[in-house]
Symmetry: C2
């Protein structure tokens, strides 16, 4: 399998390298696509990051992340929208395929998830015209329901697509297997997304049994229970042929290993189990 | 608020008491409904447990738990069905309102969640005639998607109701707020369950932020982010007026406290936040 189909989300090696070193390591191993996080870009400098990416002909499969809309006050929501517009500008400077949105959970002290979801819809609607003008698609990433309170109140692919359908052009979804693998409606919703060309990114890792931490215990492909080839087949049948982007948060394992070992493992597993 | 509407799932005080002491403590505080687990019943003895419950006029809002159907071999599934029939007999001996089913996750080594779900459907179908004959309704409990791999591959109320509809009479759902509070389709599915009289139990606790453990860090009502009165209103509007059953797994907090303090806190929170 050619490495054309592989991208590395730089969160996977965030404890090992900054953006420049991570990109160089990827290139050394034949990986030509990455997805950086905004803090990594900021640390490297936006102009310098863009230069590193463009000079090396690297594809950016997404910038992580915009979103985090729900706020306890109208001013908070307004500030979030402003920040999302800046994120769109950064994605444009990097030539990213899309800006990934982790939409946000409940405002502090709130138990109103319906209200939070409305703030997400309002926030994305307010960001979208700027994104369209910049030519940067917004990619809503439905997050696993265990993050509904504190990270994202969009928790299924179907819910994300309902939002996309209501918002119109210039918006789609990032499908991360970690968040959606359990969903009994997954195959139906992937096919639906395909019909409207709404799949913008495909993230991979694995669900470990047992999972020891809600956030930082994601597994390397093949080490868990997710049917990665099965989901990939559905996504390709739906018309998305872009790279599979490896995104692994792993405080106690992969973040502690040598970065080249991590990347080489990503390549090996991509070739054998994805 | 009368304590008629309150039941204690005995898992909530499983580190403090056996069945007999737990029932006596509940009665002392005016709580007349409980839901025991099979291991607690076995330790007390089935006949003795039934005697304690009947002599004291205690309502049993459910027996926990049947289920755990998916298996690596046909023999494994067959053994699970036999065990579920025994669980039905125990529920009948206790006069329980229902037998709660935690349906099971993936067999060891499997990545086939579709296949696991079929085994669940087959297993319940094979158990149901005996349950009907005994007059014990089966209550499928959809579990939070974070348990899809290792505890239950039925993960939304809608999915559980689809199963019920396919299986016919004598089966319904146990709605535990912890598992379903995040679901964007929750209100619709509660109303659907009401139309067909399929709500058999209503479990309560709370979702803590942060949640430190996937299994054993459930919160006391009021300490988390779940809109308990809002969900209760939907459930009552759907026609279920039975007790709210407190089920809290809490290794580092409530399981370490004095049992009477835990029960008194359940009562106080039931009166003020449910």
């Amino acid at each position: 399998m050619s490495l054309e189909g592989l991208s590395i989300n730089l969160a996977t090696v965030r404890q090992q390298w900054g953006l420049k070193d991570a990109v160089e390591a990827c290139l050394k191993l034949g990986i030509n696509a990455v997805a950086p996080w905004r803090d990594q870009v900021e640390k490297q400098g936006l102009a310098e990051s863009a230069r590193i990416i463009k000079d090396n002909g690297v594809r950016v499969t997404g910038l992580c992340r915009g979103g985090m809309f729900p706020a306890a006050t109208p001013e908070g929501l307004h500030a979030a929208i402003d920040d999302n517009k800046r994120a769109v500008d950064e994605a444009a400077a990097l030539g990213a395929d899309c800006l990934v949105l982790v939409v946000g959970g409940l405002p502090v002290g709130s138990k109103d998830i319906v209200g939070a979801r409305q703030m997400v819809a309002d926030g994305i609607a307010a960001t979208l015209p700027h994104a369209r003008a910049c030519g940067i698609p917004l990619a809503i990433e439905p997050l696993h329901p265990m993050y509904a309170a504190d990270r994202a109140c969009v928790n299924t692919l179907g819910q994300a697509l309902d939002l996309c359908d209501a918002l119109g052009d210039g918006i789609g979804v990032a499908i991360d297997v970690y968040h959606v693998w359990w969903d009994p409606d997954l195959a139906t919703q992937i096919a639906r997304a395909g019909r409207n060309r709404q799949i913008l990114a495909h993230h991979i890792c694995d669900w470990l049994v047992p999972t020891k931490d809600l956030l930082l215990d994601r597994g390397m492909m093949g080490d868990g229970v997710i049917d990665l080839p099965g989901i990939r087949r559905q996504i390709e049948a739906a018309g998305f042929l872009g790279p599979q982007e490896v995104e692994i948060f792993s405080a106690e394992n992969w973040w502690k290993r040598d970065g080249m070992e991590v990347l080489q493992t990503c390549i090996d597993r991509f070739r054998t189990v994805c």
